[in-house]
C-alpha cells in the first residue's frame, strides 16, 4: 500500500462513516400487544439470505414469478407488519408514531401522504434516495381496522414497482402524478 497512513485513517473513520450513512432499514417492533388483539397478523421478515433462497424457488417460466424475481433481485430485505382487527381503533397512534419517528431521519423523503375522510384511511409512502437512486421504501397505512407497515430495503427500481402494481390484480399507480394533496 502506497499510503499506509491514509489506509489507517480510512479504517478508523469507516465505522463513523457507516453510522453517518443513511440507513433504509427501519426498526420494526413485533407489536406483541397488537398481535394479541388482532384477528389476523402478518409478520414477514425477509433478510438477504431468505430473499436469495426465495428467488431460487421462483419459476422463471411463470410470468408472475419472473416479475417477482426481477423485483427482489436488487433487494436486501422486505419487512412487513400488518394487523387486522374486528373493531375500530384497536391500535393507538403511539404504535404508528414509534415507526414514523424513524422516517424523520435524514435521507427519507415523503413521496405520498394521503388521508381519506370517508374511510378514515391514511397511507404515507416514504422513499430513501442515495445518489438519486431509491435505496429504501416505507409504507405506513392506518385504516379503521387495519394497521400496516412495509419496509423494503435495497435498490428499488420504481419502474419494476410499476410492474409489481400490475400484478396480484392491483392497478398501476402513477407515482409521479400522485404527489400528495395535503
Amino acid at each position: 500500500m502506497k499510503h499506509p497512513r491514509l489506509k489507517i485513517l480510512l479504517a478508523l473513520l469507516a465505522p463513523a462513516l457507516a453510522w453517518a450513512a443513511p440507513n433504509p432499514r427501519l426498526v420494526l417492533p413485533d407489536f406483541p400487544a397488537l398481535v394479541q388483539k388482532a384477528t389476523q397478523a402478518v409478520t414477514i421478515t425477509l433478510d438477504p439470505a431468505l430473499l436469495s433462497l426465495a428467488a431460487r424457488f421462483l419459476d422463471g417460466n411463470d410470468p408472475q414469478d419472473a416479475a417477482t424475481r426481477e423485483i427482489i433481485k436488487g433487494l436486501q430485505g422486505i419487512y412487513v407488519r400488518s394487523y387486522t382487527f374486528d373493531r375500530d381503533s384497536a391500535y393507538s397512534q403511539e404504535d404508528i408514531d414509534a415507526v414514523r419517528k424513524q422516517l424523520a431521519a435524514p435521507g427519507w423523503n415523503r413521496l405520498v401522504e394521503t388521508h381519506s375522510k370517508k374511510t378514515h384511511a391514511n397511507v404515507d409512502i416514504y422513499i430513501m434516495l442515495d445518489d438519486n437512486k431509491a435505496i429504501g421504501l416505507a409504507v405506513i397505512a392506518s385504516e379503521a381496522r387495519q394497521f400496516t407497515i412495509v419496509n423494503i430495503v435495497g435498490a428499488i427500481d420504481l419502474e419494476k414497482l410499476h410492474k409489481l402494481e400490475g400484478q396480484f390484480g392491483v392497478p398501476k399507480l402513477d407515482l409521479d402524478a400522485s404527489k400528495a394533496p395535503h
Partner: protein, 122 residues
C-alpha cells in the same frame, strides 16, 4: 487269587437287562433333528463367528451410506420447505405492499376527482 479276581470280574460284567425306557431314549437320540443340535456346536465354535465377522465391515459401510443418504435427503427436503416458505412470504409481502399502494392510489384518485368537480375550470 486268580480265581477270586475272575469271579469278581464276572460279577461286575454280568449281563443286565436294559430299563424299560432305554429303547425309547435311544431312538429319540438317533432320530433327533440335527438342525437343533448343530448350531449349538457352531455357536460355540469359532468358524461361524469368523464367517459372520467378515460381513461386519460391509454392514457398517452400508449403514453409514444409508445414514449419509438419509441425512442428505432430509437436508434437501428441509431446504426445499424453507425455500417454498420464503417464496410464499415474498409473494405475501408484495401482495400487502401492492394493496397499500393501491389504497393510496384510490384515495389520491378520489381526492383529485372531487377537487376537479369542485373546481371545474382548473
Amino acid at each position: 487269587m486268580s480265581q477270586d479276581l475272575e469271579s469278581q470280574l464276572r460279577a461286575a460284567l454280568r449281563p443286565i437287562a436294559p430299563s424299560a425306557t432305554f429303547e425309547k431314549r435311544l431312538i429319540a437320540c438317533v432320530t433327533d433333528d440335527p438342525q437343533h443340535s448343530q448350531p449349538k456346536a457352531n455357536r460355540v465354535g469359532g468358524a461361524g463367528w469368523r464367517s459372520r465377522a467378515r460381513w461386519l465391515p460391509v454392514a457398517a459401510a452400508a449403514c453409514v451410506l444409508i445414514g449419509v443418504g438419509l441425512q442428505n435427503r432430509l437436508q434437501v427436503r428441509r431446504e426445499r420447505e424453507n425455500g417454498l416458505e420464503a417464496r410464499r412470504q415474498v409473494v405475501e409481502a408484495l401482495r400487502v405492499t401492492s394493496q397499500k399502494l393501491d389504497l393510496a392510489y384510490e384515495i389520491v384518485k378520489s381526492q383529485s376527482s372531487s377537487f376537479t368537480d369542485e373546481n371545474p375550470g382548473v
